[in-house]
Amino acid sequence: MKIVMCVKETPSTTAEKRFGADMRLERRKEDAIINPFDEYSIEEGLRQQEKHGGETIVLSMGPATATDTIRKALAMGADRGVLVSDPALAGSDAVATARVLAAALQKIGFDLVLFGSAAADAYGGIVPSAVAEFLGLPLLSFATKLDEDGTTAKIERQAEVGYNTVETQTPALVSVMKSINEPRYPSMKGIMQSKKKTIDTMSLADLGIESGTVGAGASGEKALSAEKITTQRKGEIYMGNDGAAERVVAFLVEQKVL
């Protein structure tokens, strides 16, 4: 079984976000981490491999330095990496990204493709379904549990209340929720071995994609402005002896906690 996990390099969630004049997020190498949502898809891929054998491949589209991020996934245990990198890709929106990932996936070949449910930079969450659309394959989205037996993939899909069970033939694409597993830490041996694993780099030419169909120019999505969200959380504090306890109880009853 060939399992491909798609990962994205994102700025650390605690890093200060700055935008360039073109309203694109400035990405600093020091702040780069694996998109935290992707740790769950990497973990799920590794678990499926532990059950069924086969090969795990980490696929990423990003700048040349994104090999560091792929390397981290390799340290967790994935077998090899593929980086799609090309100057012409800069500014690609979700659909352009999906076009590229779909082409790379076709080139690599797969039985199962795993995604995180979103990326922690823009929280778009549409790449998995767009990739599925380009490939003409089913996407099982928002999986909280995945069973795969070589011919079918079955998930529990998070619903507003409880879950739905969804099943499809493989090859298939699955996006996973954080509750699906607990990602492992890379082991020391994993880290030491990661350097010896291969990361292949593919350009747009390697994928047979015209550079005019991707990148900023071909992207329909444009950021016009960006501003800081300020959330104001308002706590209520009851103090003193004059009925504070009663007011807390009344509040809890009102919230149907008690």
């Binding site: 981290k72 340290a75 082991s187 020391m188 041996k189 880290i191 030491m192 350097k195």
Partner: protein, 380 residues
Amino acid sequence: MDFSLSDEQEMIRDMCREFAEEEIKPRAEELDRTGAFPYYIVRKMANLGLLGLPFPEEYGGAGADFLSYCLALEEIGRGDASVGITMEAHTSLGATPFYLFGTEEQKQQYLVPLARGEQLWAFGLTEPNAGSDSAGTETRAVKSNGVWHINGAKNFITNAGTDMTGGVTITAVTGRQSDGHKQITNFIVPQGTPGYLIGNPYHKMGWKASDTRPLSFEDCQVPDANRLGDEGDGFRQFMSILNAGRIAIAALSVGLAQACLDESLKYSRERQQFGRPIAAFQTIQFKLADMATEIELARNMYYKAAWLHMEGRPYTREASMAKLFASETAKRCADQAVQIHGGYGFMDEYPVSRFWRNVKVHEIGEGTSEVQRILIYKNL
């Protein structure tokens, strides 16, 4: 000159930082309060290969270099010093002697399970009458019919009595050298050897969740196969083990000092007095700047000592300098951290009070500050 770390070193450091943040820090207060040995954390560390970092893969280790091990210790120690010293005593004092001085058979039998983290191991040098004066060892081992009979006592021995401990390596006097000095030989004493008695854990001021015990040997018998290295080679062996161990203690101290700075930065930016955060006062800013400067210096010193060690160059003086400066830096940082926290720093709810209690022993264990200064002077 190149100050950059390798990719592996950076990844190991980052992974340990994350592990300490998520798995150790949230439990540190409870560990300190109960003094319970952190089996849960130590077993997790074992599974991740953190207990055999600097040993080759063929012996169950991760095959990382000595600096990687120190970087890991700094981060683990930043999470909690008790967990850090458990890892340090196991790796530097427990497992390293097998790696450096063991026969192939001893490496297979002892080092492999230690490097894999299936067992912990202790190193017993200190005695009631032989502390700084480690050559003053009184524990004796006498050979008769190919069996060594050991009698004596050790104290303050880390990792000696946990459920995971496989045994202890001890120094014992086996005769006199031609110059009249005691001849010291090292012996492997597995847990459960008749005559090897492990005392109750001490009640300590800090490092509370680490396991520290007195040991005694009453006609404890081990075969000659349990001798580590040649007869009379014990002194040279533990000097070299302690030398490298000092770099590791320096790394651990930098981790503790960094934790002091982390907490102080956070607190001073939150705590308001006179209508603004106390970090807005220059007096507090200067304390923070001094802490950060000394920490960076201490870190660079242990990096350098580790590098000399990895290069196979002499490093005794630099190891002592690193240990001395890092432990005293950590002490000053802990002191200022409590000061910056004011009365809250004196309360157990704030981690800095724990840091203040933990830090003292960094100036004592693996050679006191006085001993480090003696060693540095001797190498001038």
